[in-house]
């Protein structure tokens, strides 16, 4: 088990001396995943809420598809995106492959189903409870949708965190469309995968520890914000 001790020591040392390469990788990871998360929420929250509030033919199929897409393997998504962004692909002219933008795109697409599916569940339940009141008040479904998103904001925080978890932990897709190119598209997870491939297990583990610690801090921040809101709302 000396590897674990090793790993913790290495993690501490890496952080302690503020290794510039590590900091660069961390910064890119955060930039990519947080951007992807924000964009995914911008789409996933309204999309999920719409599925929770509107009734239309094919809705059940859409919900099922969304749930199924939570199980979309990142590698597959990465591959499909690779083919689209590749120079011989339809969007090749944009020259996005192997750029952080491509990675954001990949994580965005991966996170949308999670945020949307979880939002759908939360909003659908609230909507069942609220539906008559809203209709009676004359609030259209679109307005109800946004009101419910607001009412459910604390519950939705967890959906958002699940989406963030998926984004920050994901390696398959960003590896394919990002290419793990040093100083350009190397993020925490691809660096970890690389060190693992090299057999540098305790370095990989150390990076993993740093990543989880980072997630923990971000989560703690979000929980604190949530708690403040709860106190304020009484």
């Amino acid at each position: 088990m000396s590897e674990f001790q090793d790993a913790f020591v290495q993690a501490a040392r890496l952080l302690g001396r503020a290794d510039p390469e590590l900091l660069e990788i961390i910064a890119l990871s955060l930039r990519v995943s947080l951007t992807a998360l924000v964009l995914a929420c911008a789409v996933g929250l309204p999309m999920g809420a719409a599925l929770g509030v509107f009734r239309f033919p094919g809705r059940r199929a859409a919900v099922t598809l969304l749930n199924a897409l939570m199980g979309l393997p990142p590698v597959v998504l990465g591959l499909a995106l690779y083919l689209v962004l590749s120079r011989s692909g339809p969007l090749g002219f944009l020259g996005l492959l192997f750029t952080p933008t491509a990675m954001i795109l990949a994580q965005w697409l991966l996170v949308i189903p999670i945020v949307a599916a979880l939002t759908r569940q939360v909003v659908e339940d609230l909507h069942e409870e609220w539906e008559e009141e809203f209709r009676s008040l004359g609030a259209g479904r679109l307005r109800s949708l946004f009101e419910l998103l607001y009412e459910a904001r604390f519950q939705l925080a967890t959906a958002t965190l699940a989406g963030f978890g998926r984004a920050i932990a994901e390696v398959g897709a960003v590896l394919i469309v990002g290419g793990n190119i040093a100083h350009v598209t190397r993020v925490m997870t691809t660096a970890i995968a690389m060190e693992t491939n090299k057999g540098e297990l305790s370095l990989a583990l150390a990076l993993g520890i740093v990543l989880v610690a980072l997630s923990f801090l971000i989560n703690a921040g979000l929980v604190a914000v949530q708690e403040l809101g709860r106190v304020a709302r009484g």
């Binding site: 120079r87 190119i181 040093a182 690389m194 297990l201």
Partner: protein
């Protein structure tokens, strides 16, 4: 399926599995001995770590210095050279560095570097990556410093051969690749084979039994039978008979009569 049959775990590299060589060898070995071989295919660096920790019975990789160090440290019983294949340099069809057909790989690499052309390196301490470093040394170049167009044109992917080739084919970059992976790789795009045949590009494979003194659970007897078979006439002949897209890939270390068996091809899901 093979749950009940006796088996060994072989730690090897992706090149031997993905080229289809192991799928060609193992059934023959099993037919003769009833022993199954479970292949864990990873980079050379990790394969060696796996074996060191006792998670494999036999190691089949291609980086001689590491293999020798492995045996010296007492992790392995003895290294046997089994076969060799070769590396090649692939690159964009237009070949901006003008290296096509060169027989001296060091010269070719130096040209690519001086010209500041795109080069994609695995950067993962695999056998291939270590070979690449060796070649840069031979060319007298430090790829991280001596690059014509400055940093950015020499790119390390830190991933496997396939993923690296995917990057190279997309970027239209030069890349060092083992011939097996090259032949079986489907997503070549605009890449061509440019430099072949320099003796420096030879790539010997060694096989080592993990030392039972270090790891008592190692299936030494079964593992030794696999090694013995690989080195036997039958095994060597089987290696010689392996074909990928009609090409010879791996050369046995001993001269054997190539049998009249039909050529093999890379097996994959869905292949008949």
């Amino acid at each position: 399926a093979a749950e009940a049959a006796p088996y060994i775990v072989l730690a090897s590299t992706t090149s031997t599995r993905d080229s289809g060589l192991l799928d060609w060898l193992i059934p023959a070995f099993r037919a003769r001995t009833g022993i199954d071989v479970r292949v864990v295919a990873v980079g050379t660096g990790r394969a060696i770590r796996l074996a060191e920790r006792g998670d494999a019975d036999v190691l089949l990789v291609h980086h001689r210095p590491s293999e020798e160090a492995f045996v010296r440290a007492g992790h392995g019983v003895e290294r046997f050279e089994v076969m060799w294949n070769d590396f090649v340099v692939a690159g964009p069809r237009e070949d901006p560095a003008g290296v096509r057909g060169l027989s001296d790989v060091a010269v070719a690499l130096a040209r690519i570097a001086r010209g500041g052309h795109l080069f994609v390196s695995r950067g993962d301490e695999s056998g291939t990556h270590k070979k690449e470093m060796e070649l840069w040394r031979a060319a007298g170049i430090d790829p991280h410093r001596d690059w014509g167009a400055g940093p950015g044109a020499y790119r390390e992917t830190g991933t496997g051969m396939g993923a690296t080739l995917n990057v190279a084919s997309e970027l239209g970059a030069y890349v060092l690749v083992d011939r097996g992976t090259w032949i079986s790789f489907r997503n070549r795009g605009a890449l061509d084979l440019l430099v072949v045949g320099d003796p420096l590009l030879r790539n010997p494979y060694g096989v080592i039994l993990v030392h039972p003194a270090r790891h008592p659970h190692v299936k030494a007897e079964l593992g030794q039978r696999f090694i013995d078979w690989l080195l036997s006439d039958a095994g060597q002949a089987r290696i010689a008979a392996f074909r990928l897209e009609g090409e010879v890939l791996f050369h046995p270390v001993r001269d054997v009569d190539p049998p009249a068996a039909p050529g093999a091809s890379s097996r994959r899901i869905g292949s008949p």
